[in-house]
Homo-oligomer: 489 residues x 2
Amino acid sequence: MTSPEPESEPDAKPGPPGSPAGRAPEAADLVITGCTALVHDERERIGFVEDATIVVRGGRIATITGGSADPRAAGPAGPADPAGPADLAAAEHIDARGQVAMPGLVNCHTHTPMVTLRGIAEDLPIDEWFNAFVWPIESNLQDRDIELGARLACAEMIRGGVTCFADHYFSMDIVAAVTAESGLRANLGQAYFSSQGAEGRERSLDFALRHRDTADGRITTSLAPHAPYTVDDADLAATARLAREHGLLVHIHAAENRDQTEASLARHGRTPIEVLAAAGLLDTDLLIAHGTGIVERDLPVLARATGRIGVAGAPRGYLKFAWPTTTPVRELRALGIPVGLATDGAASNNSLDVWESMALTALAQKFTEADPRWLTSRQALHHATLQSARAVGLGERIGSLAPGRRADIVLVDLSGPHTQPVHDLAATLVHSARSGDVRTTIVDGRILMRDRELLTLDVPAVVREMNARMPALIERSHGKRIQTYETGT
Amino acid sequence: MTSPEPESEPDAKPGPPGSPAGRAPEAADLVITGCTALVHDERERIGFVEDATIVVRGGRIATITGGSADPRAAGPAGPADPAGPADLAAAEHIDARGQVAMPGLVNCHTHTPMVTLRGIAEDLPIDEWFNAFVWPIESNLQDRDIELGARLACAEMIRGGVTCFADHYFSMDIVAAVTAESGLRANLGQAYFSSQGAEGRERSLDFALRHRDTADGRITTSLAPHAPYTVDDADLAATARLAREHGLLVHIHAAENRDQTEASLARHGRTPIEVLAAAGLLDTDLLIAHGTGIVERDLPVLARATGRIGVAGAPRGYLKFAWPTTTPVRELRALGIPVGLATDGAASNNSLDVWESMALTALAQKFTEADPRWLTSRQALHHATLQSARAVGLGERIGSLAPGRRADIVLVDLSGPHTQPVHDLAATLVHSARSGDVRTTIVDGRILMRDRELLTLDVPAVVREMNARMPALIERSHGKRIQTYETGT
């Protein structure tokens, strides 16, 4: 593929571990001691370093060193350059005994402002959910609603151990400002439909170019066509050209469910994945949301992709909408395609709880594959870490605790009765721990939540104003809607 | 049916609401103010009373009164006899503004001491899970292991908003003592296999008679044959006779999965449910654990039951074991059979989180019925409240917040960003709230957890001792096991 390396960072120069960017070692910003650290070995197998010390400098992990553990498990830096007394004196220090340090979770597909609609359209099939509730109400959205929703969503994610999210929505300038304010990392894309004419696509590109690598590099961007059933072939092809020209990720809903695939076949003779391929989108870096409608004939098409393809799975919504299939993780993994964890918006998922997505991915996969040995806890943690990072185009920056990676770290408290005793720490994390067990959330070395206290956002103020605005927002008597959903057209 | 009314209480004399047992109104023990209370109307539809005051006297709910709400929604007592200044002065007072009061959750089928094995046998089919791990390790269990496990389990349940559980295990004298100490309510049964000879059944009866209505009435008891594949027809028939003679509930695993049903048909020409019917167990009050192997031909058999039948569903484990079906809730409801929520033991479920069981019941039902309109949030809450209470034989004592019911109440904090805004409170409770949002847990009017602080159990002490005992407990080199699982035999 010809696109520039989207994972390169303007300020990233190679240097020896422990001295990022080749400069002389500077004082640590943050030192975390006494935790058990989740690490990946050279074959990406998940292991745990006991009594670990994590030193953060310049927003990156400088070193991870273990107490009595095999130093090889701590990654290439091994025991070199641990925190010295000077570090501990200069830096912010977290005593994390009894806690597990792991890479922050990544919400690989969401629509943050939709938290405002949490619970507004329940127990409905997707067409009625869209046409009777979501799209009429979205026609009322004002900038302030977007802002309050994004703020509440960021607060929820920080409290749930999410350090990065991929957002696909409207008025994304506002979401970018909230992201910057919240301290989170995000890949943001301005959504568009072909019904908006060329202007939709142009605004999506303009947004992506203006915001890429902003917020100290925490914001990356995508082009965000809504879906093959709302964006026509010409627009999809133009999007693929723009993505290649500008080295941008494309983030799109596709093959969301089996009905869409069947309707696409009936109408065009092609599956949604074949539509993407024909448009050239499989030769760009592409994040496909959902993909539960990916079928057998799509697999060779995906195998021929020259772009880096990722899929975001949000299994809770598939169960709730009673879709007959879930994301075909086994087939996608056989092709080497990463499957990241996601929640979709809170209007369908009722929360932005990626921790729950991790557990439900394991459970839904075991059930649909009829195989209890498939999707083990360690596999689930691999999806939650490196695969999620790759799906959102950040596979070199985040997704593991290793020297040189950005310091996006969550500390999980396992002292509760529901997480004791620990026979298998991977199982404890996936199947017993809950998002509420995250005590501390760190992005780029900055603490966004400490001991459950949010440090960058004021939830009560957001909720008060949101509730005051609600009557106007949920009014549907005007009969307008921003789109009409017809199964798979 | 001829058995005595198991829901009658020795000390329960009818009296007007607000003056239990016909005595003059006594001072309140506990007054909860400012909450939103989940109530059931005369057709058992779930509603919410805003700005409610709940007055507790003698361990029972005396009154529930609403601020501006329709007083009929508050139940038969309506606005009569609200808390007066004398009550507020005399009683313990909880200011529960911003919180929802609801009936405590009931874990309708668990094995509390198995929390000790949480995470020890992961990602395995059930035969290997039983034969290679659970049954060999259970042959090592000492009384102290049972005690520590039960204590940890009670702590986990209190923290998760569970106020009552149905336990089916060994050494239940110890579990009864821990239940009394914890303050929880429970229905307890001493499990037995036919491999123990007549002694197993006799000990189960002895336990049930010695412990019924102990711990101030909080403990009720069952006869607890393990399952039709480990207890023979003669023992099942003898159990049915004893249950009728002594007015006891029978608690049994049956038709746990489809394989068991098919193996039973192949071996005996009868399904597990038909085996229970032939033994006379459907003419006793019966709690069936799991029932995912209940098939079409079982439905008329269940329809002819003269006992009160309940089923406990623990959907997480079915997904994790990759069983092809889940409890057939729709068919059971059509027969009027209550389906209660359960977790099974933590060795399969990884937690005793009934809140999660509530959400997963909704999700698994929608998916398996291919119907997003089925198992709404209000249905899920009905399973969590009245149906769960009935399944464990306590349908008249607990399961709703109404005058005369035992004061088993949990207060749920909805101020977190993940539970705001609230468009549909039932959906917020089922799909957005988590067990960790329970702030306060009350049984019989006694506060067992207040603002997340456990008041009756010391978790760190339990965990320390449990971990010290672990090497001896999990030793499997002796080659012993308490049973052998062969699919469905």
